[in-house]
Amino acid sequence: MADFSPELVATIQDLWKRYPERKAALLPAMHLIQKERGGWFSPETIRDTAELFQVPDIHVQGIVGFYDMFHAEPVGRHVVRLCKTLSCKLRGADELRAHVKSAYGVDHGQTTADGAFTFRCFECLGHCTTAPMMLVDEERHENLTVEKLDRVLGGLR
């Protein structure tokens, strides 16, 4: 089955049992597929996913393009998502973004030269009372300061 690992295929087959239609498992499954396929959806991964789910490839591509957490371009070893929406902005998100740009040379959508991380400015990540915050892969870092951000991002290199 399209070269996914047997473990992944088994997990996805389990997901299918939760819904009357396989297609419904696409979003949960695509998180797992993206992880196994290096953090993004290449045209090949899109085709493989479509084949596994027996849906048109444009359906999978349309989902990748619709949901911000799926990537249509290659990413670094980690994905850093810095919240830029109002509560975080009011508590310094713009300054953090400027700092990332000057200290790490990346702005929204860019990957550091060493491939350590891809930086994305995200809309509200739902941690408004502990703003500013960022997600590094699946780990969250709240009440960020420049120092704290440096400690986390420095550890990714």
């Binding site: 419904a24 998180h31 989902i63 957490m69 809309e123």
Partner: protein
């Protein structure tokens, strides 16, 4: 001094509450047992109706009435938990899911029983991996204990519940978009009619309720509608979770009874005022999709109807505060950036208009717009609002219009001396 009334968050600080044993020690799943063993489904709905519970996702629709729309057919039905919490400023549902997930599961099962749903899905936004893990762990324990799945507590009632992760799209918090997304599609809102209660998931009757709403259901069944409606005030019964963020000394999620204090008292007593000591300039009382209130409007009583009378809304319970150091134009621009990014792109007015509004505000910010452009901006908002499938258009039209009107002098200063761009 305003105090919290902790019901949903009573045990949030206790890590044991996340386990089934801990939850049960504090009375967990007794409400479910009572509903299944002693009540008919329609009695459960009546109890919720009597409690005065209104949806906590933003629209404030009476929960019991929503349940009553479900036709009495033998067809498959679904309960769907809206855990896509993505309205800017809102992070309350996360507290429930991460710290006390069983009360959500219990409330979901009670709702499922009331409407006759055999399957439930908890649609959690993808950006909440911790919530997803906490719910999955809790569900596994509950399933192991016969609380979820077949023949729950020997009652003959069966209901499976699954966690479903979203993947980063604000619009999926809109209930019909959530359903479209859950079925494995781009998250497009649907045309109504038909309404989800009649045709939802896979064309079957479906109720979509917010996390906090269902957590309340657990407590209503545990302690009774009369107890619930004795809390808060008329029109805003029970307790509500509020997220205070932005320029306050004590940002946080607070569980409060509405109607007992004013917005200013809330921000001063619990919020602790601004960290800088500068005066508050404006407050968004119900998420970024609601009209802003100025410093002069903060003495309004804090409940659904009073805030509505003041021209705004409690929305999702997200109170965002900014002080005098902040440019109103910047805030309006930040809000419009959010909505133009999140427009699904289906409807012409929202797809094209959300971006135009963003561009116009950006031009104002850069002092590259003229006096006529403010009138144009307001006119364009008029052309967009009310003319789309879902309410995302209103979600940026309302706040942006309120900013231009209430901070008019500031906007005018940005465009002074220019006729147009």
């Amino acid at each position: 001094m305003i105090g919290e009334t902790r019901v949903m968050l009573e045990h949030a600080a206790d890590p044991a509450q996340r386990t089934l044993a801990g939850y049960r020690r504090n009375g967990g799943y007794q409400a479910l047992a009572k509903a299944l063993r002693e009540m008919k489904p329609e009695e459960v709905t009546e109890e919720v109706l009597k409690s005065g519970l209104r949806g906590r996702g933003g629209a404030g629709f009476p929960t019991g009435r929503k349940w009553k729309f479900v036709p009495k057919t033998t067809k498959q039905k679904y309960i769907c938990v809206n855990a896509d919490e993505s309205e800017p400023g809102t992070c309350k549902d996360r507290q429930i899911m991460e710290n006390d997930p069983h009360q959500l599961i219990e409330g979901t099962l009670i709702a499922a029983y009331a409407i006759g749903a055999g399957t439930g899905y908890i649609y959690v936004r993808g950006e909440y991996p911790h919530s997803i893990r906490a719910l999955e762990d809790a569900l596994e324990e509950a399933r192991g204990a016969g609380l979820v799945g077949r023949d729950i507590l020997g009652s003959g009632f069966s209901c499976d519940i699954w966690v479903h992760s979203g993947a980063g799209a604000y619009i999926c918090g809109e209930e019909t978009a959530l359903l479209t997304s859950l079925e494995g599609n781009r998250g497009y809102p649907r045309l109504r009619p038909p309404f989800p209660a009649v045709e939802g998931l896979w064309k079957c009757p479906t109720v979509v309720n917010n996390v906090e709403t269902l957590a309340c259901v657990t407590h209503i069944l545990r302690r009774g509608a009369a107890w619930f409606s004795s809390l808060g005030c008329e029109g805003s019964t029970g307790t509500r979770l509020f997220c205070i963020s932005g320029h306050v000394r004590n940002p946080g999620v607070y569980e409060l009874e509405c109607g007992k204090f004013t917005l200013r008292e809330l921000l001063m007593d619990l919020g602790g005022g601004t960290p800088s000591g500068r005066p508050i300039k404006g407050v968004l009382p119900g998420g970024s999709s609601m009209p802003v209130l100025t410093a002069a409007e903060l003495d309004v009583r804090f409940d659904l109807d009073s805030i509505a009378k003041a021209g705004s809304s409690l929305g999702s319970g997200a109170i965002m505060v900014f002080d005098e150091s902040v440019s109103a134009v910047d805030v309006a621009l930040n809000i419009s950036q959010f909505y133009s990014h999140e427009s699904c792109g289906q409807c012409t007015p929202c797809r094209e208009g959300s971006d135009w509004v963003r561009l116009m505000l950006d031009a104002v910010r850069r002092r590259d717009a003229g006096e006529k452009d403010l009138a144009l901006l307001l006119d364009v908002l008029d052309r967009i609002e009310g003319n789309t499938i879902c309410a995302l258009a209103e979600a940026f039209c309302w706040p942006v219009r309120s900013f231009v009107k209430k901070f008019g002098a500031e906007f005018e200063a940005h465009v002074a001396g220019r006729a147009s761009a």
